[in-house]
């Protein structure tokens, strides 16, 4: 939603959240307080720590909260920024902002390198790579004394000047840090509403679906790491500038765990959560010191407690405190607002048919898994503008074939041509850019995103013939939802939709990409009779004169018969029949493949 629409939506909801007003007032007032009231140097340094740490935690929000990638090296990036600034100014006499830029730049490059490792690995391996990176950083910081001064650290880091005014006053420097933090919180808050942000969330929710729908998942993950590292670097540089002295034990693995805990406690999926978590975990030990003597022991064990708390958070409130508050607020508010569905254009699905060459061609396709020949020499031609079904008994190789067409599997041999282009070496998102859309047998939507957001991701694919700009994406998505009859559910999170509707949203997502070729993997799976009839109607509407080519798999022969122009039958990875539904469904070889050889009853 653009800012104008957000305000309009808020106005439409009738009231301006009192929450937001309170927070806004506090946010503006807080940095001003030290200038009017007397505040000790100690309190100022606590808040300097809090703001700079919060900036680093914003990085965790981006990479872990938004993109779902584990990053246990954030303290190393924090360290790149800090050492960049410290060495630049104290050791080499460079100006403050140049040194900061160098530090942040180095961090960003390092982040990019780590992000590139996701090309091969994810999950636990990624965790270990980031831990290893963090540990190596730590060792180098401690041992490479010629450069980093080792455990002695680097003293004498100067404060910057802003518009000629030197920020030697702690209050002024804190103001700078706070303003930078606010700015970055706003940016990180804005991110999920952008194209990149939606792609990131898609990667987190269901990476395979995102890839298939056209998201360049590797690029998104690398970007997430770069942003996270840059944020870490900014925090680290400001930290160094604030405290004038840094040493390696501020940037070690324990610190990385702290950043992680702060993000998790507050709520990794929101910049406000991240800031909240940071503040709590920094202020907590200080408040504990003020406790009555009886509770003093807590101060000693609080670190242990917050280790325990991490476990409890994962079990009971994985979205952190902010998540809890948001859910409570959403429950109190009840129904999501219906979007203003004014003047939604009908969905443009038209594909001009200028040639008669096949839209999809499989040549000599083979896919083996070890000794198993799942697809064993299959040739299929799907004519432009037709509906072509692929059927066969369980284990015949249908889904494998579809996965190879889509790019999820690389074929052992053979070629795949979409609209005459050889796409065999291309990744799924590249094939989406060629106009291939796909739905999955086990629905793969982005569960916490709304129907509209899901469909917009589909519209974001490269080469989608729509106008540039957000409005066009949104309109396209709404049109697609309207086509499947779900425009009024646009603002509902898809995990709250019934199964049949989820299936329709998935189809809408594929259609939003204006595909030339639509691949449907068991679209009727899990639907009841009524839903199936509606699906048949939908497929017939897709077929009517739009020029769209559809290649589908299903087991419901009634459905297949009603919507297909041609059917190919597979068994044991080979083609055993092909032709019109009438020809194929009464073919004795096909019947035998499904029901077994007749006459066995006497055996």
């Amino acid at each position: 939603m653009s800012a104008r629409e957000a305000k309009a939506a808020a106005a439409q909801r009738g009231r301006f959240s009192p929450w937001a007003v309170v927070v806004l007032v506090v946010a503006v007032a807080l940095p001003v307080v030290p200038f009017v009231a007397g505040v000790s140097h100690f309190v100022l340094s606590i808040f300097m720590q809090a703001t700079t740490y919060a900036i680093a935690v914003l990085g965790m929000v981006v990479v872990l909260g938004y993109t779902g990638q584990i990053n246990l090296a954030q303290a190393a990036f924090f360290g790149f920024g800090a050492y960049g600034l410290a060495l630049g100014t104290a050791a080499y006499g460079l100006p403050f902002w140049i040194s900061l830029a160098i530090g942040v730049g180095t961090a960003a490059v390092a982040g990019g390198i780590l992000g590139l490792t996701t090309i091969r690995l994810g999950g636990h391996y990624l965790a270990m790579i980031t831990i290893s990176f963090q540990q190596i950083f730590d060792l180098v910081a401690v041992n490479w004394i010629e450069v980093t001064h080792g455990p002695d650290g680097i003293p004498g880091i100067p404060r910057p000047s802003v518009f000629g005014y030197a920020l030697t006053d702690d209050r002024a420097y804190l103001l700078l840090c706070t303003l930078v933090m606010y700015l970055l919180i706003a940016a990180v808050w804005w991110l999920p509403h952008t194209r990149l942000g939606r792609a990131m969330r898609g990667v987190r929710e269901n990476e395979l679906a995102a890839e298939v729908v056209g998201v360049h998942t590797l690029r998104v993950k690398v970007t997430a790491f770069v942003l996270s590292a840059a944020l870490g670097g900014i925090g680290g540089a400001l930290y160094a500038g604030g405290f004038a002295y840094i040493s390696p034990d501020n940037f070690n693995f324990n610190r990385a765990i702290e950043f992680l805990s702060m993000a998790l406690l507050g709520g990794a999926q929101s910049p406000f959560g991240g800031a909240l978590g940071t503040t709590l975990l920094i202020l907590l030990p200080e408040w504990l010191k003020e406790m009555p003597r009886a509770l003093q022991f807590i101060k000693d064990v609080y670190l242990a407690i917050y280790g325990l708390a991490v476990i409890l958070i994962m079990v009971f409130m994985p979205e952190g405190i902010w998540g809890l508050l948001k859910n409570a607020w959403a429950r109190a508010r009840k129904a999501p607002p219906a979007p203003q569905v004014l003047r939604v254009k009908p969905l443009d699905l038209d594909i001009r048919i200028t040639e008669s060459t096949p839209m999809l061609r499989l040549e000599g396709l083979q896919k083996h898994f070890g000794g198993l020949r799942a697809v064993d020499g299959v040739d299929i031609e799907v004519r432009r503008g037709t509906v072509h079904a692929l059927i066969g008994p369980n284990g015949s190789g249908k889904t494998t074939t579809l996965n190879v067409v889509n790019g999820i599997y690389k074929p052992t041999a053979g070629k795949i041509l979409i609209d005459g282009d050889d796409v065999t070496p291309k990744s799924p998102h590249e094939r989406a850019a060629h106009g291939a859309g796909r739905t999955f047998q086990n629905i793969r939507l982005f569960p916490t995103m709304t129907a509209l957001e899901n469909v917009i991701v589909g519209a974001q694919r490269d080469n989608n013939p729509i106008e540039p700009g957000h409005q066009a994406l949104r309109n396209r998505a709404l049109s697609a939802l309207q086509f499947v009859g779900l425009a009024d559910k646009a603002e509902t999170a898809v995990r709250n939709l019934p199964y049949g509707h989820q299936r329709l949203v998935e189809i809408a997502r594929a259609l939003a990409g204006h595909p030339k070729l639509l691949l449907l993997d068991e679209p009727a799976a899990g639907l009841n009779q009524t839903e199936k009839m509606e699906l048949v109607e939908l497929l017939k509407r897709l077929r009517e004169g739009h020029g769209l080519t559809i290649f589908l798999i299903d087991h419901d022969m009634g459905l297949v018969e009603k919507v297909s122009d041609r059917i190919t039958v597979l068994n044991f990875g080979k083609k055993i029949a092909e032709g019109t539904p009438e020809e194929v469904l009464r073919h004795p070889d096909v019947i035998a493949a499904y029901l077994g050889e007749p006459g066995h009853a006497t055996a």
């Binding site: 008994p393 369980n394 284990g395 019934p498 199964y499 989820q502 068991e522 799976a525 899990g526 009841n528 009779q529 199936k532 009839m533 087991h555 419901d556 022969m557 009634g558 459905l559 297949v560 018969e561 044991f572 469904l585 096909v590 019947i591 499904y594 029901l595 077994g596 050889e597 007749p598 006459g599 066995h600 009853a601 006497t602 055996a603």
Partner: protein, 242 residues
């Protein structure tokens, strides 16, 4: 009294309603088959019986006792052995070890007796005797299927649930397998057989049910089901009414 009875069972996984009010019975000493196209709910039915899935409504009774709230470990101790789809033999253990583990539900048994029972299994499936000490993953599909059934039998079940034993196997192997199934039945084990290959299943069973998207549409004796158009329609469409 039927050995196994399902009364109006509803079962779902995630938000998909897979079984919509399924009722069937299996009497002691029978082989009953459950047929249907892929996705009809046959595997879901077996998983609901053996306790891997809990029904959302309806009842399942075994020898008169309700079992639909029980855990799988308990259900197998009561005498129902489920040989699931896809063989699922333990790839890192030998053939012999797989078979011996099949008796895990029967409590402590003397090693000598277990060995003797294993030999009986090799008697039913001589094809795998020579692979006795080979690791599971080295076996062919057909051998793995035989091993899976042998392992399932070691529980000395009153009711054996077989899920698509012919899946992915060459016709000749399927013949051998079904010959063994007949033998097992003759020795007194009641069997509920899920199969996509209707003709093969009907060659051993006495009765059958046909599932279509979670509903039972046809049932009857083997005779009634053979070459029944309704059965073919369940797989290949072409029902008269919409």
């Amino acid at each position: 009294m039927p050995l196994l009875e399902l009364r109006n069972v509803f079962s779902s996984y995630g938000s998909v309603q897979a079984l919509r009010g399924v009722s069937l019975t299996v009497d002691p000493g029978e082989i009953v088959t459950l047929l249907g196209a892929n996705g009809a709910g046959k595997t879901t039915t077996l998983r609901t019986i053996s306790g891997l899935l809990r029904p959302t409504a309806g009842e399942i009774r075994f020898e008169g006792h309700p079992i639909h709230q029980m855990a799988p470990e308990r259900i197998v101790r009561l005498g129902i052995s489920h040989v699931p789809e896809g063989r699922r033999i333990f790839p890192g253990l030998t053939v012999r070890e797989n078979i011996l583990l099949g008796a895990s539900s029967r409590g402590r048994i003397a090693r000598a007796q277990l060995e003797e029972e294993a030999e009986q299994m090799f008697g039913i499936f001589p094809e795998i005797k020579s692979f006795e000490h080979a690791l599971g993953w080295t076996l062919s599909g057909g051998q793995q299927q035989m091993l899976a059934v042998a392992r399932g039998l070691m529980a000395k079940p009153k009711l054996l649930l077989l899920d698509e034993p012919s899946l992915g196997l060459a016709p000749l192997i399927v013949q051998h397998l079904f010959a063994a199934i007949r033998q097992i039945h003759q020795r007194g084990t009641t069997i509920l057989l899920v199969e996509q290959n209707a003709h093969m299943a009907l060659s051993v069973a006495s009765r059958g049910y046909v599932l279509e998207t979670g509903n039972l549409t046809v049932q009857g004796t083997t005779h009634e089901l053979l070459d029944n158009d309704e059965v073919r329609a369940a797989y290949l469409g072409g029902h008269q009414a919409a």
